[in-house]
C-alpha cells in the first residue's frame, strides 16, 4: 500500500488505503523510495511512522510538530492517539 509524505521533514506518512499488519507500505521521501512492513492494522488515511520516533520526541507532519511520542515508535508502526500526546508549544 502506498503512503503519502506531505513534507520532507515529516516522520509520518498517510496511508492511502486500509493496511493489514505485515503488509508492505511504500512511500517516497526526498525523491527516494522506501518500504517497510506495517506493524499493525492501519485504517485508510491514518498515519504510519517513516522513522523511529523515540518517546518524548516530536511527531512531525506538514513539516511541523503535531504532538510528541508517548512511547518509542518504530518505523511502520501505526501513529495515532494511542501513542501521541498533545504538547502545546508556545513561541
Amino acid at each position: 500500500m502506498k503512503a503519502t509524505v506531505i513534507d520532507e521533514k515529516d516522520n509520518v506518512a498517510v496511508v492511502l488505503g486500509a493496511v493489514k499488519a505485515g503488509e508492505e507500505i511504500t512511500w517516497v521521501k526526498g525523491g527516494a523510495p522506501f518500504t517497510a512492513p506495517a506493524l499493525r492494522d492501519v485504517p485508510v488515511y491514518h498515519k504510519i511512522a517513516t522513522a523511529q520516533i523515540p518517546k518524548g520526541q516530536p511527531v512531525v507532519k506538514y513539516g511541523e510538530h503535531i504532538g510528541i511520542a508517548a512511547e518509542d515508535i518504530q518505523v511502520g508502526d501505526y501513529v495515532h492517539v494511542h501513542n501521541v500526546l498533545n504538547n502545546r508549544e508556545e513561541l
Partner: protein
C-alpha cells in the same frame, strides 16, 4: 510570467471588467437587482446588512462595500441606497473614494421617488458605464500584480492530504514570482496559531497572528462557544486526525511555506507585491471569500473535499478537489481534478505548475464553472446580532 488584465485609473490591475450595482443596505438590494437585471456586464449581490448594525458590524459592511467597488475587477460602481439606512450614501461614497478614484454614480431611492424612478436613472447610468468599460483592451502585466485568495470548504481527508498542500505549493510559486497570496479563515488557525506565528516576518506580525486568533476566540466565548473543546472531534479522530495542531495545519498548509509578511483585518485593502499575507476572516466560505475580494483579491482558489458551488460576484473562484469520487459527482461545479496527487504525491510540483497556469488562464478571461453558472453567493462577516 504574465497575464492579460485591465489597468485601472488607481493603478491596480483587474482580470474582469464589470460594473458593480452596489446596494448600500438590504433595503436597496431589490432595486439594485432590478437595475442589474436590465444591463449586461453588471454584477450585484443581495446585501443583507447596511442598517441596524452596531458600529463594529457597520464597519465590516462598509469595508466590504467599499472594497468591492475598489476591487480592480470592477470598472466602476453605481451605488443605490434607500436613504435612511445606517450606511448613509455620503459615508459609502467617502469609503469608496478613500480606496479608489474609479467611476462612481449614486442614486437614493427615497429622493428619486421610489424604485421605478430610481431604476430608470440607474439603468441609464449603468448602460453608459458598461459602454465606457467595453472600450478598454486587455494589456499584458506580470503576475506580481495578482492577489490570490485561498479558501477551503466542504473539507474531507483529501483536503489536508493533497488539495490544501497543492494550493500551498501554488501560493509559493506565485509569491516567488512577486505576487501576493492570502491565507484566510482565522477559526481554522486555532490550535496551530503558535506554529503559524513562528512564520511571521517580524515580532509585530507574530503578535498580530496571536491577536486575531485570541480576538476570535473571545468573541465566540461571549456566546458560550469554546472552539478548542472537543477538538479534534471524535469524527476527526476516526478519520485519522490525532491532534488539533494536525487538524489546523491541514488548513494552514494552503498558505504554503513562505514567511507571513502582513496581517490584515477583515476586508481591509491589501497591497499587491506583498508575498504571503493573512486576512482575519471566518471559516464560513462566502463571507471569507468576500473579505479577501473586498481586500483586492482578483481571484480565489478554493479546495473542497465534498464539493461546493461557491462563486463570488466580483472575483472568479477556481474550485479544486483531490477526491476522485467527488470530482466525478460534482464536475459541474469543480474546475480542477487534483486526485492524481493521492496516488502520485511526487507529482506535486507539476500539478502546482498546472494550477498556476489555470490561475493565469482564468485571469486572462477563461470563465470558471461558478462564473459560467452565474453563482454570486455572498455573505458579510458580522460580530453580533442586529439591533
Amino acid at each position: 510570467m504574465n497575464f492579460l488584465g485591465y489597468r485601472r485609473s488607481d493603478g491596480r490591475v483587474g482580470i474582469r471588467n464589470k460594473v458593480l450595482i452596489l446596494p448600500a443596505s438590504v433595503c436597496a438590494a431589490d432595486t439594485a437587482r432590478i437595475v442589474a437585471s436590465q444591463v449586461q456586464e453588471t454584477v450585484t449581490f443581495h446585501n443583507q446588512n447596511g442598517c441596524s448594525q452596531v458600529p463594529s458590524d457597520m464597519e465590516l459592511t462598509m469595508d466590504v462595500m467599499a472594497g468591492f467597488a475598489a476591487n480592480p475587477n470592477i470598472y466602476g460602481t453605481i451605488v443605490i441606497s434607500l436613504g435612511c439606512e445606517g450606511c448613509q450614501m455620503d459615508l459609502v461614497v467617502e469609503a469608496i473614494q478613500k480606496r479608489t478614484n474609479k467611476p462612481l454614480r449614486q442614486f437614493i431611492i427615497q429622493e428619486e421617488g421610489g424604485t421605478i424612478s430610481t431604476a430608470e436613472k440607474a439603468v441609464r447610468a449603468a448602460r453608459e458605464m458598461v459602454q465606457e468599460a467595453s472600450l478598454l483592451k486587455r494589456e499584458e502585466f506580470p503576475v506580481s500584480e495578482l492577489i490570490l485568495g485561498t479558501e477551503c470548504g466542504g473539507s474531507d481527508m483529501t483536503s489536508g492530504l493533497a488539495s490544501n498542500p497543492l494550493i500551498g505549493h501554488t501560493c509559493d510559486k506565485l509569491v516567488d514570482l512577486g505576487g501576493t497570496a492570502v491565507l484566510s479563515e482565522t477559526t481554522e488557525f486555532i490550535g496551530a496559531e503558535h506554529i503559524l506565528a513562528r512564520r511571521g516576518r517580524t515580532p509585530e506580525i507574530q503578535a498580530r497572528i496571536y491577536d486575531i486568533v485570541h480576538r476570535y476566540e473571545a468573541a465566540l466565548k461571549l456566546v458560550g462557544e469554546d472552539p478548542r473543546g472537543g477538538n479534534p472531534s471524535p469524527g476527526n479522530i476516526a478519520g485519522g486526525l490525532t491532534t488539533l495542531e494536525e487538524k489546523s495545519l491541514g488548513c494552514i498548509h494552503k498558505g504554503g511555506h513562505r514567511p507571513v509578511e502582513e496581517v490584515y483585518d477583515y476586508a481591509k485593502q491589501m497591497e499587491p507585491g506583498k508575498g504571503l499575507v493573512i486576512m482575519d476572516t471566518p471559516g464560513n466560505d462566502p463571507s471569507s471569500v468576500a473579505g479577501m475580494v473586498a481586500g483586492g483579491a482578483q481571484i480565489v482558489v478554493f479546495s473542497t473535499g465534498r464539493g461546493t458551488p461557491t462563486g463570488n460576484p466580483v472575483a472568479p473562484v477556481i474550485k479544486i478537489t483531490a477526491n476522485p469520487l467527488t470530482y466525478g459527482k460534482m464536475k459541474d461545479n469543480i474546475d480542477v481534478d487534483a486526485s492524481v496527487l493521492l496516488d502520485h504525491p511526487e507529482e506535486m510540483e507539476a500539478v502546482a505548475s498546472a494550477l498556476l497556469s489555470e490561475v493565469v488562464g482564468t485571469a486572462n478571461g477563461k470563465l470558471t464553472k461558478s462564473e459560467a453558472l452565474g453563482f454570486y453567493e455572498m455573505a458579510i462577516a458580522r460580530v453580533c446580532n442586529y439591533v
